[in-house]
């Protein structure tokens, strides 16, 4: 995932035809149609058709069955838990992302590059391993297991475990959007504010925040999409107790394994809608940020 979110802002340019006007960069027509045909078929087959399939399968038994699958109590409980997990994980990772970016971008200290690598670490860990590590720490056979059971605190197979696993898998999202941007912006503006007598918090709210707001929103929506959609890590720590420790993706799995396909796709379609809304906001933010002189998204 590292790097994949970089440079997206330059994606939507209007230069497509510029290359075709210049004879030195123009491909022969048959190559153009071959490459376009193959790449767009690949896109349709592997991306577009699966997306459409979710909505078609969800509405297969009509609108009433669709609504019934969503307002059913277990589904509502799953929606609630998903909102709780994302509602805790995203703000915590936001505070972390801003603190880490402030320390890394505005100050010089040894080990900075190593710290950036460590922040990226959760991206390269399998979601299943991300769940497992909390079982090893907080599970009944884990480091704190005996102590937790003595005080009757449940973390694994309960909501806190789900929140922890969600925080882990979404850990780097906001930090890695802010760090390169704030490094590019440097600290001149903040220094000017401090020298002119502003307090640290005033400087942050009135100088730094306006400069990073689009990157911040960008990081938050990507973080939120992953937080609400995470499956593997949450699956390990959830215990799959219906109506209690099932998030929306886990509820989809249970319905699917019980052959309630239409209901499974109905709940899945809400998550697919969330993905589409996320992409729409992301595209808008990229467009806005590309118009702001201060905010250069690219590294």
């Amino acid at each position: 995932m590292a790097g994949a979110s970089q440079g997206l802002l330059t994606a939507g340019n209007r230069r497509g035809s510029r290359y075709e006007i210049n004879s030195a960069t123009r491909d022969p027509a048959w190559i153009k149609w071959l490459v376009l045909g193959l790449s767009l078929s690949f896109f349709v087959l592997f991306l577009l058709v699966p997306l459409i399939a979710v909505f078609v399968e969800a509405l297969r038994k009509g609108w009433d069955a669709y609504v019934a699958a969503i307002i059913e109590p277990d589904a509502l409980a799953a929606i609630r838990l998903t909102l709780i997990a994302a509602g805790i994980a995203v703000p915590l990772n936001l505070v972390f992302g801003v603190s880490a970016a402030w320390a890394i971008a505005k100050f010089d200290f040894p080990g900075k590059h190593f710290l950036i690598t460590l922040i990226d670490l959760p991206f390269s860990v399998s979601p299943v391993v991300a769940g497992l590590i909390y079982v090893l720490v907080f599970g009944s056979h884990g480091w704190f297991g005996p102590w937790l059971s003595e005080y009757d605190i449940k973390i694994i197979f309960a909501v806190p475990g789900i929140v922890l696993a969600t925080i882990f898998v979404t850990f780097p999202f906001i930090a890695r959007e802010l760090i390169p941007l704030m490094q590019t912006q440097g600290r001149d503006e903040e220094e000017a504010a401090i020298v002119l007598g502003a307090s640290g918090w005033q400087t942050f709210w009135h100088v730094t925040l306006p400069n990073i707001k689009w990157a911040l929103i960008y990081g938050v929506i990507l973080c939120n999409a992953r937080a609400m959609g995470e499956f593997g890590a949450v699956s390990v720590v959830s215990g799959h107790i219906r109506g209690e420790t099932n998030t929306m993706p886990l509820h989809v799995e249970i319905l699917y394994n019980e052959y309630q396909f239409t209901a499974a796709f109905a709940v899945a379609s809400l998550l697919a809608l969330l993905a589409l809304v996320t992409l729409a906001i992301k595209t808008y933010v990229e467009w806005r940020a590309s118009r702001e002189p201060n905010e250069v998204f690219e590294e």
Binding site: G16, Y19, V54, V125, V129, E190, F204
Partner: protein, 280 residues
């Protein structure tokens, strides 16, 4: 004072607070829990470790996980290059929508992708029903694993190649054309070498993501031991059998592979930035 060679002292506040919080949070959420895998693994005897990570069923799962991840990343490298070429070089109706939707696998929950792909590629599915008479079975075979891994890895190569292609100066292509190179020669000898680091970075990112992938695969794979069972699923299977030592040993192997991949990806990204003349 402005001409002083030494940097003036940093007047900004909050260094201790922000770095202190970041390091504490990083340690509590990521570093200490991750270390549990290695500490627990270190407590195993060598025979216990070896029998957990090298039993035939586990080795078969490595073959599926790593083999299919390599194949999926390779397919994504080829089609990702073509897709980014189409998005940058050609104008066609719906280009912006295609461009925005490329990131769908990042935004779409893996479980949703998994059930959608299964519905498409099962015997009587939208696509599967046309492949069935040809004798091709995708769902519940290793090919199903491949399809899911292609889906989740699709954006990586596009998103690493596209910006490099966009920043690529057309001067060198014009020079090549002036010197009499045909389009194929220009592409192979001038354009492709510039894109190679970005393609390899995207390939490595897609591979790293695919090796650990769980949600989209388990629905379509059928999870037949020795045939279509992936390594992350084995960790879960062992956990459900209360075999914590076995699950942790396999996790240690996967984590080690992830760390090595992370180092390779960092090196590739540095190479990409150097090759395309960007700042690191």
């Amino acid at each position: 004072m402005a001409s002083s060679l030494a940097r003036p002292p940093n007047v900004l506040p909050g260094f201790g607070l922000s770095l202190g919080f970041a390091l504490t949070y990083l340690s509590l959420i990521v570093l200490i829990p991750l270390s549990a895998v290695f500490i627990k693994t270190a407590s195993l005897s060598f025979d216990g470790f070896w029998s957990a990570v090298a039993s035939p069923r586990v080795v078969a799962s490595y073959r599926i996980s790593f083999g299919m991840s390599l194949l999926a990343a390779a397919i994504n490298a080829v089609f990702g290059l073509m897709l980014s070429w189409s998005l940058v070089r050609y104008s066609f109706p719906g280009r912006r929508i295609v461009d925005a939707l490329i990131d769908l696998p990042f935004a779409m929950p893996t479980a949703v992708a998994g059930i959608a792909l299964t519905a498409l590629y099962s015997q009587n599915g939208w696509i599967g029903q046309y492949l069935e008479p040809l004798g091709i079975k995708i769902a519940f075979t290793p090919l199903g694993v491949l399809v899911a891994l292609i889906f989740i890895g699709l954006p990586f190569v596009v998103r690493t190649v596209q910006p490099v292609l966009q920043d690529l100066d057309t001067d060198i292509e014009e020079a090549a054309a002036t010197l009499g190179a045909n389009r194929l020669q220009t592409f192979m000898r001038v354009v492709l070498p510039t894109l190679t680091p970005a393609i390899l970075t995207g390939f490595a990112l897609a591979f790293a993501r695919a090796v650990g992938e769980y949600g989209s695969v388990i629905f379509i794979a059928g999870n037949i031991p020795m045939v279509s069972e992936i390594t992350p699923l084995l960790i879960i299977t062992k956990l459900e059998q209360y075999d914590y030592a076995g699950a942790t040993a396999i996790a240690a192997v996967m984590l080690t592979v992830s760390f090595i991949l992370l180092l390779i990806i960092n090196a590739l990204q540095a190479w990409t930035n150097r090759r395309s003349g960007r700042e690191a």
